[in-house]
Structure formats: C-alpha cells, structure tokens
C-alpha cells in the first residue's frame, strides 16, 4: 500500500497524525511538499519594478529561492520525526495542486488537509488548491481538518423548497 501525504505549512501536523491513526504500519508512506515558485517570483517582480537597479543591488528573489529549499527540507524533517515510521521524503517544485495529482498517480491513498475556511462546515472549507486536488485525485482521498472540525451547528439551513 502506497500512501501519499501532502504537507503544507501550518496544517501538516494533522495529516501526519491522520497517517499515524488510520494507515497500517506496513504501508509505504511518501511525505510530499511542493515549493511554489510564486513567492520568490513576487520578489523578482518587485525588484524588476525598481527601475535601474539591475546589477547594482542583488535580486532578493534569488536569495529566497535558496531559503525556500532549506525551509522545505526542515518541514519534511519535522514531519518525518512526528510520523516516527520509515517514510520517503519528496520535495517537488511547481503549481502545488498539479504536482500533488501527478505524484498521487498509482497511490492507494492520498492524505491532505482542508485549506479554506475552517470555522464552518461546507464547500468553502476547501481552498482553490485543495478543491482541485480533491476533484482530480486519481486515487482514494483522506481529507482531514487541520484542527478539531467545526460544530455541526455551522451547517447552513436547508433550502426553502423541498
């Protein structure tokens, strides 16, 4: 059994805990983190907006690309420690939702955390990336709440006409 666990900053501990709670110990676990190039890209763009500074000052986006690699490695290390079983660490770069779907191909389970509004039950509890992955996953999905789930009372009222 191959289990892919998509780890995102802030919400990853819930995914690791779900693996510990629901996945048999013999399963092959892949801890996946995707670095999106958009954040260093923001710095590249801001620097390009500073007309005339090319070559005079260092492009901050370059430094952030290096920093990003280090922090992704730290996140995967922390997750592996929390999981406390053998696991493969996988770091990918690109659009997160597409990379996750690609890695999940042929897997027996994909674990991910909700990435939207976590105060109410409902479709908005999935952000755009999470929505894409859930809709396109080529395997069974285990979707967890990052913290304790909202109360069932947050359910919207039923539509007026039955």
């Amino acid at each position: 059994m191959r289990v892919v666990v998509w780890l995102v900053e802030g919400t990853w501990p819930a995914c690791v805990d779900a693996v510990r709670g629901h996945v048999p110990g013999a399963a092959e676990v892949v801890l996946l983190h995707v670095s999106e190039p958009d954040v260093p890209g923001l710095a590249h763009g801001a620097f390009a907006g500073l007309l005339g500074r090319a070559r005079s000052e260092p492009d901050p986006g370059d430094r952030m690309e290096t920093l990003g690699t280090t922090s992704a490695a730290r996140l995967l290390d922390a997750a592996a420690r929390r999981l406390d079983r053998p696991a493969t660490r996988l770091e990918r770069a690109g659009r997160a939702e597409r990379e996750v779907v690609a890695v999940a191909e042929g897997a027996d389970l994909l674990v991910l955390a909700r990435d939207g509004d976590r105060a109410h039950l409902g479709p908005r509890s999935l952000g755009p990336a999470g929505r894409f992955v859930v809709d396109h996953a080529p395997c069974p999905v285990l979707l967890v709440w990052p913290e304790s789930p909202p109360d069932v009372a947050t359910l919207p009222p039923p539509p007026p006409h039955p």
Binding site: V8, E9, G10, T11, W12, P13, E36, P37, D38, V39, P40, G41, L42, A43, H44, G45, A46, F47, A48, G49, L50, L51, G52, R53, A54, R55, S56, E57, P58, P60, G61, D62, R63, M64, L67, G68, T70, S71, R74, L75, A78, G94, R95, D115, G116, D117, R118, G127, P146, E147
Partner: protein
C-alpha cells in the same frame, strides 16, 4: 541562471541620453538645468543607499527578523502585523530599496522558520515598499525628485504626508487581513526557540541621528542630503575601520550605474516632454489643488505609473504640476507611489520588457496579483488623497 540582456539599465539609458543631446532633441541649457536639478537628488539617493546597505552589515535586518518572530508568537496574524509595522518604518526611513532587497528575504525566512505560509507576508513587503514610501523625501526616489520641485521643507513634506501615509497603510492592512484570511488562519505548528536578538545599537543610533539631522537641517535651511551623507559616512567609516568593507564596496553600495541611469533617464524624459508630451498631458491634468483636482491628478499619475513605471512617470508629471503648488505635486506622489501595486513588476512597460528578454513571471499567479492590486490600490489611494486634502487644509500648502 543565465540572463540575456541582464546588464544594468544604464547601458541603454546613457547612450539614449547622449543621442538626444547630440541630435539636438533637447537644447543644451535644458540638459544643464536637468543635471543641476538631478545632481543633488542623486547625491542624496547615493547616501541613503549606502546608509541602508551598512545598516544591513550592522545586523539591523537580522534583528528585524528576530523581533518579528518574537512578537508573532507563532501566530501568522500577529506576524503580518509585525511585518506591516517594520516594513512601513524601514521603507519610510531607509527607502523602498531597503524593504525589497534587504527586508523581504528576512521576512520570508522568518515566516518559513515559524512554519507560516510566507505568501501574505512577502506580498505585504512588496505592497508596503510602495504604499509606505509616502512619508519622507528619502523614502522613495520619486519623493526626492518631487521634494526638490515642490519647494517644501523636509519637515513640512513629512507633516503633510504623515496622515496619507498612515491612512494608506491602514487601508492595505484591512485589505490584507481579509484577502489572506485563510492563509493567516493556518496555525504555525512549531514555535521555534528564538535566541534573543542582538540589538544593533550603533546602526539604530546612527539612523536616529540622521533623522534628527533631517529636521535640524530643514530648520536651519541646509540641504538635508548632508545629514544623509553624514549618516552614510559614519556607518561606512566604521565598516572600513573594522576592515569589514573596502573603499570599493562602499562605492558599489552607492550603486553608481543606477545613479548614471537616473541622470540619463532625466535627460531622455526631458527631451520627450519638450517635444510634445507636455502639451498632450497638460490637457489631461486638472488644474488647481481642490479635492476633485487632487483626485484626478493622483488617478492620472497612478495610470501613467502602471504604463511606463513610476520613475519616468514622476519625471514627466512634476514639471506639469509644479505650478499648481505643493498639493498637486504631493497628489502626483500618492498616485505614482501607491499605483504600481496594480501591475506585476510595477508597470506594463517593465512586464513587456521582461517578456521580450524572456525573464518570465517565475510562476507568479498574475490573476491573484492583479485581483489584490485592484482591491488594494483604490482602497489605499482614494482615502490617502482625502487625507492629503485634509492635511493641506490643516497644515497649509
């Protein structure tokens, strides 16, 4: 990474300036006037660049990272507040270059160490480098150019701009809290053990004295650039004495090719303005400095900045608005400083140029960038113009 055409922009601008002078597109006395006008601005700019660079060497920005992490207590919402406070202060005092080049990587590293999603915080840096650059003449090169045109003293400039500055930052903060609510709601799981930051006392005292020097110089009628030069010399001198810098690194910190670029751009823009752009834009610009005129000027400035970058935009608009008084000049600044948040890379011209030389967007979600800009720019610009109008009534132009 291979970068075709990755040379300094001065390589293009300086020959272009030489060309317009040689072909007579601009009369020689206009070249002289432009150089005399830009000379002190460039000196001032060089001093601020050196000051920021050696503040970094003194560990100021490292300390900023530690302060932010401590204040944030592993909560992304609190981190955003800390980023807003520090990025606004750094931009105002050490200029937008310091925020983009020196602070942004520190903010990114701090968010990553906390386990927080870095995007809202990095976006905050890029937006505030523009929006929070309204306060002082030193905050932005556009301000330095307008400052010499407006005839305002350093303190009067700051007194008129403090309210628009605060209002614009406040508006950005509200927009960010809502726009990034989900990212900021994701708890940071590992409150990392932060060692107490080493306070860079020497840098802080020097910057404080430089600021006091601005006020004193403006009261005594001396050019405040001297105060910036003194601050830069003190920090650079200390680095030289401790052998942490060489004369060459000091000269490099002043970014000579950038200074040459500014001068060349000034000459080229003057030639374009002389040859018809002044008449064309003069018809569009509202006269006077009542509230509707200020709003119109700021909006036009914002649009122009998004088309051709805010540096040429301010060079074009300043001569046309100087006659309407300081209110109109400051309205131009609100437009050209807040406006660039709308377009990735600051303007369509830069974006197009990057396409041409194949420096693509590095995967930035342009839809998200523009959506945030479409909300944040009007939300900051309109109240800021209102605040400027109010300041003009209270402080007086």
């Amino acid at each position: 990474m291979v970068r075709p055409f990755g040379w300094p922009e001065a390589v293009v601008a300086v020959p272009a300036a030489a060309l317009v002078v040689v072909t007579g597109a601009i009369p020689l006395d206009h070249v002289r006037a432009e150089a005399a006008h830009l000379g002190p601005v460039i000196g001032f700019l060089a001093a601020v660049l050196v000051l920021a660079r050696f503040c970094d060497d003194e560990g100021l920005f490292r300390a900023c990272g530690a302060w932010m992490a401590r204040w944030a207590k592993a909560r992304p919402g609190r981190l955003l507040t800390a980023v807003f406070a520090l990025a606004s202060a750094i931009t105002a005092v050490l200029s937008l270059d310091a925020t983009i080049v020196l602070l942004t990587p520190v903010v990114f590293a701090t968010a990553a160490r906390m386990g927080a999603r870095p995007k809202p915080h990095v976006y905050a840096c890029t937006h505030l480098s523009n929006t929070a650059s309204l306060l002082l003449p030193v905050s932005n090169l556009t301000n330095l150019l307008a400052f010499t045109t407006s005839g305002l003293s350093f303190t009067r400039f700051a007194a008129l701009m403090v309210l628009p500055w605060l209002v614009a930052i406040g508006a950005e903060y509200v927009v960010f809290r809502r726009f990034f609510a989900h990212d900021l709601g994701a708890a940071a799981p590992e409150p990392s053990a932060e060692e107490p930051p080493e306070v860079p006392v020497f840098a802080l005292v020097t910057v404080g004295c430089t600021l006091a020097g601005f006020v004193a110089a403006s009261a005594l009628g001396i050019d405040p650039a001297w105060s910036a030069a003194a601050g830069a010399l003190v920090l650079a001198g200390r680095a030289l004495a401790r052998r942490r810098a060489t004369p060459l690194t000091v000269v490099k910190a002043a970014a000579p090719s950038f200074l040459a670029f500014v001068l060349a751009l000034g000459v080229v823009v003057r030639a374009v303005v002389d040859n018809g752009l002044a008449d064309a834009l003069g018809r569009l610009l509202p006269d006077g400095s009542d509230l509707p005129a200020l709003l119109g000027i700021a909006a036009l400035a914002a649009v122009l900045a998004n088309l051709i970058n805010n540096l040429p935009a301010v060079l074009v608009l300043l001569p046309l608005t100087a006659a309407s008084g300081p209110g109109a000049v400051l309205a131009v600044l609100l437009g050209v400083n807040i406006g660039p948040n709308l377009t990735y890379a600051g303007s369509l011209a830069t974006l197009l140029w990057r396409r041409i030389v194949h420096q693509h967007e590095h995967g930035v979600d342009l839809k998200e960038f523009t959506r945030l800009g479409l909300i944040a720019v009007p939300a900051a610009l309109v109240p800021a113009v209102l605040a400027l109008w109010l300041s003009l009534q209270v402080v007086g132009g």
